[in-house]
Symmetry: C2
Subunit: 509 residues, 2 copies
């Protein structure tokens, strides 16, 4: 028998940055005819270990058959380059990656074996360590979707997610937080709520996400006004000084596994309720929150379509919170139509500023929702007597205290700026007379995404009507904003295929 | 409003072959700062339409931030290059791909809505047309796995798969076929069965698959003996002349959607029973078969682990066959241990030749299985009286007719050759005295795959013992064959982690 060790000594190649952005999955470009490839028997899509002196990652191989690489070189995608903290020409060794053993549990789950604390931990650790390929992640996400996680599984998953990330400690007895289950375009209450709550003397160090399947997440919207990629130190100093902040959760790496799962859920346009609960609660625990208000909009085309399902979700959120030692209150709200005027980061930011400034352009529905939520939080935090929260929250806006606090928070985060404006717009008119009877949130959200939101922060929709409004054929329904003509045209084409985004009838039934 | 058409006229780039093998998913490498990218608002992982004058595909974008491409160039992966039938420097235009609308049905399926004939057709057509990304494919495969397809859904899926591929017509009343549900390493009866059946005057134009999750498929094994990538014309002339053939099903593109799904199932190591039934029956219909014998090995570590599940699968296979107008007979067989000696393409080919030559090295179990299956087929095809099939099949081997027919078939397919031998071998010995009580087919299969099978055709295992054999510490259990020292070592490491691949006890219980 030959000695299998003999190849180990020359099993290295020089790293080269290819400048190819593969969108997070680390990819290695290797010549099919290089020594390492032949000795190790790699083939396209092999999962391999790449080790430099100081770092090690698992990556997917793409084979190279041309001279874009020399025989001594191996190319790295941008994510592989980042994860390896590589430098040009650095040496690395390569070996077959052990198959992620926890995929056995994923297969078990697909065949009906519930996740245990042990299997959830193994899966989440493998995911956080980058041991799953994109299709393995897609399989795991799918296996948990469609009500396939019971409360115990959700609790196990949540604990595993908390355990594999870092956890903040604010040294306070009560740390307030909120979350919205989403699905309602333009429902951007968080910046207003944080300003009111912090202006009332409570602590609210808010970490928000970027969009998963929506045209904007709070982090995307806030980013058009002020920096949100805060280091933990910056976040601490902002909260120390102002009592609140609005930071992107990902930049403080609170739940690394969740961030990876969210990318796949986004690509599949799939929100699993179990993973939603685990994602929300794990991020709240990691953020060091003790009291969380969760807003669940209910509507035929919102994420939660029925009160029945809403109650089920609420129960899981409260129970999972309890199991992990935090208090969760639920607020059900109307989810029948978009909130405010703007849909998309910059357009929503404009609405927020109008409300905070107590400006007559500020959308009443957005203001009403924000003060209801803030009011509940003020009561949870004993800053307002039971039943008085909403009134106090309203007062913080009319008195200008909320706006002053918001400006101070943005200043502390790095400065308040003007949101960008889109280069191209196109107004969609009613086309007939009647009453606005129905708005499809999902089609509207998709339209805003096709227009470029959230990647293009100025893109999205500006809504000019609400349910029940009377319109003439010439009444503008909404304006599409876009940075690129291709995207604008694409949104228009999509609207032509989906004419029922907004229904106008003679009489609403 | 600006004119969104204005960019259309300059929306082209020159194609360049990157020589990067992304393993089937077509990928486009585009400079982030090129005009097309900015105008269309593409980002990493966007799904885009690429159109040349004559062809059009959907591909995933990887962004390029370095000078490996000029501003006028766009790079293509090998699969994108192949699908586009591109030539160097050819011009192409780019636009956002419409989202695959049928993903709505996949999401519905995840949430419990059964597939309808309509949704199955839309999904399968989108898959066959390359409209699904790898993670969308993984999500669809997972949503159907774990007993989540009922018989009606399986029939819909099967019909959709048949409809989107080509279908052969042999102009005969009876066209014989077989299939094995797999999971049993080394169970390579097909080449022997085809030789016997064709030598008995029946028609058996066999299309076989490559390995899905096993160390070898029949096509992989046969390829070490003779060409199997036959064009439809070659296949016809071989069958015309010899009454049988053993071709790779993929080369005649009988079920393009199935081939794509199988690639993902392989990467996930996931066999869904519903997709298994749809895959098997659709390929049989497409191959023009009328009478199919399906072998289902049952064993604790075979693909089918219990007789109960075997019966359920059998019922679905028979019913789906009926619904599509073919006759399916089922044969249950013992699935407790590997069949023959060799596991892996070349090592299995050697066993087949020994059996066909009536050589005393020919493994008795492989011969016995092959003649049982062939016997059943002879009876189904009225070439043997009821109860006489097996005896006639045995006679075809002892008389030399089967070997003569096999040689003639290989000659017609392009010539019979010697299977390759591996460069490295390593013998695993019993290590203790006792009786072989248990062999784990799954661990054994994985071991053969780690050794390099089926990508390296000479790689795999050569088994020297069977269940019930008495062994000494020095008795060889099996020999690992490998082309690359890295792979050999990797298989040895895996075996050290899984010492129970073969269990030796003082007495079997």
């Amino acid at each position: 028998m030959s000695n299998p060790e003999e190849s180990q000594h020359v099993n290295f190649l020089n790293l080269r940055r290819m400048g190819i952005d593969t969108h997070q999955e680390p990819v290695i470009y290797m010549r099919q005819d290089c020594y390492v490839c032949r000795a190790e028997g790699f083939e396209a899509h092999s999962r391999i270990n790449v080790c430099t002196g100081s770092h090690s990652i698992i990556a997917t191989v793409n084979m190279v058959t041309t001279d874009i690489l020399s025989h001594q070189e191996v190319g790295l995608s941008e994510s592989a380059w980042r994860l390896l903290e590589a430098s040009e020409g650095e040496k690395a060794t390569f070996s077959h990656a052990k198959p992620a053993e926890s995929m056995t549990y994923v297969r078990g789950k697909i065949y009906g074996t519930p996740l245990s604390p042990r299997s959830a931990t193994d899966i989440i650790n493998d995911i956080a360590n980058g041991n799953y390929s994109d299709i393995q992640l897609a399989s795991f996400v799918t296996s948990c979707a469609g009500n396939r996680l019971n409360t115990n599984e959700i609790i196990s998953l949540t604990k595993a997610m908390v355990a594999c990330g870092s956890q903040l400690d604010w040294g306070r007895e009560q740390v307030m937080d909120k979350h919205c289950v989403g699905g309602l375009p333009g429902n951007r209450t968080t910046p207003i709520v944080v300003a009111i709550v912090a202006a009332s003397g409570l602590i609210m160090p808010k970490t928000s996400s970027r969009a998963i399947t929506s045209p904007a997440g709070t982090a995307d919207t806030m980013e058009t006004l002020t920096p949100v990629n805060l280091s933990l130190e910056t976040m601490r100093s902002v909260v120390e000084k102002e009592g609140g902040c609005i930071a992107w959760g990902g930049s403080v790496s609170l739940s690394p596994a969740d961030d990876i799962l969210i990318r796949i859920e986004k690509a599949l346009d799939l929100d699993s309720e179990g993973q939603l609960v685990a994602s929300v609660i794990s991020k709240k625990i990691a953020a060091g929150s003790t009291d969380v208000l969760i807003d669940i909009p209910i509507g035929a085309t919102a994420k939660v379509r029925s009160m029945n399902y809403g109650r089920k979700l609420a129960k899981q959120l409260v129970k999972t919170g309890e199991a992990l030692g935090i208090r969760v209150n639920i607020l059900f709200s109307d989810g029948s139509q978009p909130v405010g005027h703007g849909i998309g980061p910059a357009l929503e930011a404009r609405d927020i500023i109008h409300v905070l400034k107590n400006h007559h352009h500020g959308p009443q529905d957005l203001r009403d929702r924000a003060t209801t939520i803030a009011g509940e939080i003020l009561e949870m935090g004993h800053a307002a007597p039971k039943g008085e929260g909403k009134r106090l929250a309203e007062h913080k806006i009319t008195s200008g205290e909320a706006w002053t606090k918001f400006q101070a928070i943005c200043e502390a985060q790095g400065g308040l700026k003007e949101p960008p404006r889109a280069a191209h717009t196109h107004c969609i008119r009613a086309g007939r007379a009647g009453i606005i009877c129905y708005i499809n949130n999902r089609v509207i959200a998709k339209l805003a995404k096709l227009a470029g939101a959230p990647a293009a922060p100025a893109a999205g929709l500006d809504f000019h009507v609400k349910l029940g409004d009377k319109v003439d054929p010439e009444t503008p329904l909404f304006t599409i904003h876009s940075d690129a003509p291709g995207e604008l045209q694409y949104a228009i084409n999509f609207l032509e295929d989906h004419p029922n985004a907004v229904s106008i009838e003679e009489e609403c039934i």
